[in-house]
């Protein structure tokens, strides 16, 4: 039976992550960092990944990880979403890690351990907009005589490539590991809608690569599915923050000699939003639990969670901006960071529409 609740251990994990984020990741700091050249908070990442061991949650203990499950990773993502934390958790500890878990051989094992320890940050070099199961771009692979070869070409829309130590690159049907510091690799930051999850274009000019698997398709599909499923938990965190902050603000802000939160028109909108947040929690938990237990329902619950959570997170952020009135339009107030994250998340790992299409196939409700 699908377990939709949080265990005591999961709640303890949540408190620990929330405490750390309260101390080290306040909105003003996130905002200040967003405009610098180093979008990721390295110190925060160190505390989360090395200090708390969170980067290795999905990696089995014998491979150097924590041997936890997607249920715990989902709880971490809820909290990171609540803080719009500028860390590569989703891209490195979930998506890149899942891709590596689909590979075999010493190269993959070594990289997995490095990612799990948080020493190395990885990124899958597939556009963030790609839905699980959708076609994706690769680059040209050239045999050079060693076990990897060299890569040539350009890939766009790569999330968290800025700041990544290793890229996992599809080329010629296989998946390859490329270190970003070496010759022949150029990571060009793009100006991203979401300031806290930067995108980049990556160019390879004869970059030396090491082979991870001949079946990039399976590895990428697995990685994107986990990304999509657990993104719903991040979206839940984003939506929760928006609702909580807006409720707090409308209780304090007075107009017409009463708190604006006492007007029925606003109360109904916030209550409606609460209902949708409650639904998002159920959907996100179902998806995380299905992944954790390897349920046959995993494809369905992942697509369901994305189809539902994406529009809810966007609506929560849009309502938050509107119900904060003028202050919601300012750069100083952090609500715009949440709007930008929510809107970018609604495209990440497939739009709600793409996931509804996937669902139609899964539940045999075909389009005409």
């Amino acid at each position: 039976m699908t377990d939709l609740l949080y265990s005591e251990e999961e709640e303890a994990l949540r408190s620990a992550v929330r405490d750390l984020l309260t101390d080290r990741c306040d909105a003003a700091a996130v905002l200040a960092r967003a405009e610098t050249d180093t979008p990721h908070d390295r110190e925060l990442w160190k505390a989360l990944a090395e200090g708390m061991g969170l980067a290795g949650l999905l990696v089995p203990e014998e491979l150097g990880g924590q041997g936890a499950t997607h249920r715990e990773a989902a709880v971490v993502l809820e909290e990171l979403g609540r803080a719009v934390a500028p860390t590569p958790y989703l891209t490195s500890a979930v998506v890149a890690t899942e891709a590596l878990l689909a590979c075999e051989g010493p190269e993959a094992t070594e990289l997995l351990a490095a990612l799990a320890a948080g020493r190395t940050v990885g990124a899958l070099a597939v556009s963030l907009a790609t839905a699980p199961g959708a076609p994706f771009n690769g680059v040209r692979h050239e045999e050079v005589g060693d076990q990897g070869g060299a890569l040539h070409g350009e890939l766009t829309g790569i999330a968290d490539a800025v700041g990544a130590d290793v890229l996992l690159v599809p080329a010629g049907g296989g998946l390859f590991a490329v270190h970003t510091a070496q010759d022949g690799v150029t990571v060009t930051p793009r100006t991203s809608l979401d300031l806290t999850r930067p995108l980049a274009t990556v160019t390879f000019e004869g970059a030396r690569a090491r082979a991870l698997t001949q079946d990039a398709d399976a590895a990428v599909r697995r990685a994107l599915r986990a990304g999509a499923a657990l993104l719903a938990s991040e979206q839940l965190g984003v939506a929760e923050w928006c609702l909580t902050e807006t409720v707090r603000y409308t209780k304090e802000r007075h107009q017409f000699n009463r708190p604006v939160g006492s007007f029925q028109a606003l109360k109904h909108r916030l209550a409606q939003l609460w209902l949708e947040v409650v639904g998002t929690r159920a959907a996100a938990r179902a998806a995380a639990d299905a992944l954790a237990t390897g349920s046959a329902d995993t494809d369905l619950t992942s697509a369901l969670a994305q189809a539902y959570a994406s529009p809810v997170a966007v609506r929560a952020a849009e309502e938050a901006v509107q119900l904060h009135g003028g202050i919601g339009m300012t750069w100083e107030h952090p609500v715009h960071l949440y709007l930008k994250r929510a809107k970018a998340d609604s495209i990440a790992y497939g739009t709600a529409g793409a996931h509804r299409e996937a669902l139609a196939g899964l539940v045999e409700l075909p389009a005409p």
């Binding site: 699908t2 377990d3 939709l4 609740l5 609702l243 409720v247 409308t250 209780k251 009463r258 708190p259 939160g261 006492s262 007007f263 029925q264 606003l266 109360k267 109904h268 916030l270 209550a271 409606q272 609460w274 209902l275 409650v278 639904g279 998002t280 929690r281 159920a282 959907a283 938990r285 179902a286 369901l304 189809a307 539902y308 509804r356 299409e357 669902l359 139609a360 539940v363 045999e364 409700l365 075909p366 389009a367 005409p368």
Partner: protein, 395 residues
């Protein structure tokens, strides 16, 4: 007596003493009540054992597995869900002993005389009067109630009436148990937009209620009614529903079986509603798991809101999907069903009946206020009626 193992054993012993296959249904139910296995969280002697509420699931599972008859909870839903907890909470010992057993076994059906033509969402504005007859001590009740399910088959009613019009509206109300066989009680079917009459209007003319049938103190009826209403809203959401178990089921079936009806626009809308329905189902399942784990969350307050909207949107889509067939209706014959079957008839019926889902048991607008105020802690709107005597209110 709080242990699941002990309770399972007790249920097994009960089943051995009263084999469902060879025991009369009524006798079985009475014996089950007397054994404390009706609702285990009720006190001993009143159908329970004073055990935690969550253990009822243990008993129910054992009985179901043994093929035991149930007490038709749908038919006696108002009694079980609303009258019983109120009698238990506010009744005298004598009232509890008189009413609870036949209520639970279904020998006596209950209905609820709360809403009035002028007091629906603002229930506390009700105007049905109960006046004390000084000579006998009885109460004489006059007024009109509306939207009363099961009034035509009910033996008893829970009734709220105004006993002091000089008081502000919430304070002058008293709560009674009304005998529906009293000659002053006139039940008339209320035909609805579906063509049938599942509800009634109830006219009360000089109905005499003995003071022994009062629940709670004189003037405290609103407090008592809160227990009833709280239980009304909690009673949904406790069941496991399979995927496509609700209104989405028939539409999905039609979509699969009749490809000629499919259009791109309908497909977009169908998939969105399929997602919403599945998420609502998971939300209900999460609520159920919380209840079983003994940690009830506030999710329950929202379940009815979600289902009302979904039922309306899905059945609306279904009528449209059917195209020319959607122009037809199955049957406008006036009948008085004992039960409402939300999904049992055709699309047109589902569409019309679901319009009531956002009105009955609290309108969606009132429920949204409740969520906003009790769950989110938002302030209430300023009110002008609170300290004004009922007789001075604009009506």
């Amino acid at each position: 007596m709080t242990d699941a193992t002990e309770l399972r054993l007790r249920t097994e012993e009960f089943l051995a003493a009263h084999p469902p296959a060879s025991t009369d249904r009524g006798d079985f139910l009475k014996a089950r009540f007397d054994a404390g296995l009706a609702w285990v969280h009720y006190p001993e002697g009143l159908g329970g054992l004073g055990a935690p509420r969550s253990l009822q699931a243990v008993v129910d599972a054992e009985l179901e597995a043994a093929g035991a008859p149930d007490n038709d909870p749908r038919r006696i839903g108002i009694g079980l869900g609303m009258a019983a907890p109120t009698v238990l909470g506010f009744g005298t010992e004598e009232q509890k002993r008189r009413f609870l057993r036949p209520l639970w076994t279904g020998e006596e059906v209950w209905c609820q005389l709360f809403s009035e033509p002028g007091a629906g969402s603002d229930l506390a504005a009700l105007g049905t009067r109960a006046v004390r007859d000084e000579a006998s001590g009885d109460w004489i009740v006059n007024g009109q109630k509306v939207w009363t399910s099961s009034a035509h088959s009910a033996r008893w009613a829970i009734l709220i009436a105004r006993t002091d019009p000089e008081q502000p509206k919430h304070r002058g109300i008293t709560y009674f148990v009304c005998d529906m066989t009293d000659p002053g009680v006139d039940v008339r079917p209320l035909r609805q937009i579906t063509g049938e009459a599942e509800f009634n209007e109830v006219f009360l003319t000089d109905v005499r209620i003995p003071d022994a049938h009062r629940l709670g103190a004189v003037g405290e009826g609103w407090k008592v009614a809160q227990t009833t209403l709280m239980n009304e809203r909690v009673s949904i959401g406790g069941m496991r529903i399979p995927r496509e178990g609700g209104m989405i089921g028939p539409v999905a079936k039609a979509w699969r079986e009749r490809p000629e009806l499919r259009t791109h626009d309908l497909h977009q809308r169908l998939m969105k509603l399929w997602v919403d329905a599945e998420v609502a189902r998971l939300t209900g399942e999460r609520l159920r798991q919380q209840l079983v784990a003994g940690q009830p969350g506030p999710e329950g307050s929202g379940m009815k809101l979600g289902f009302a909207r979904l039922n309306q949107e899905i059945s609306g889509l279904e009528v449209e999907l059917l195209g020319e067939e959607g122009l037809l209706y199955d049957d406008w014959t006036m009948r008085r069903p004992e039960l409402v079957d939300f999904t049992g008839r055709e699309a047109g019926y589902r569409y019309l009946r679901s319009k009531g889902n956002s009105i009955e048991g609290g309108t969606s607008e009132v429920l949204l206020n409740i969520v906003a105020e009790r769950v989110l802690g938002l302030p209430s709107e300023p009110r002008t009626d609170k300290d004004v005597a009922w007789k001075d209110l604009a009506r």
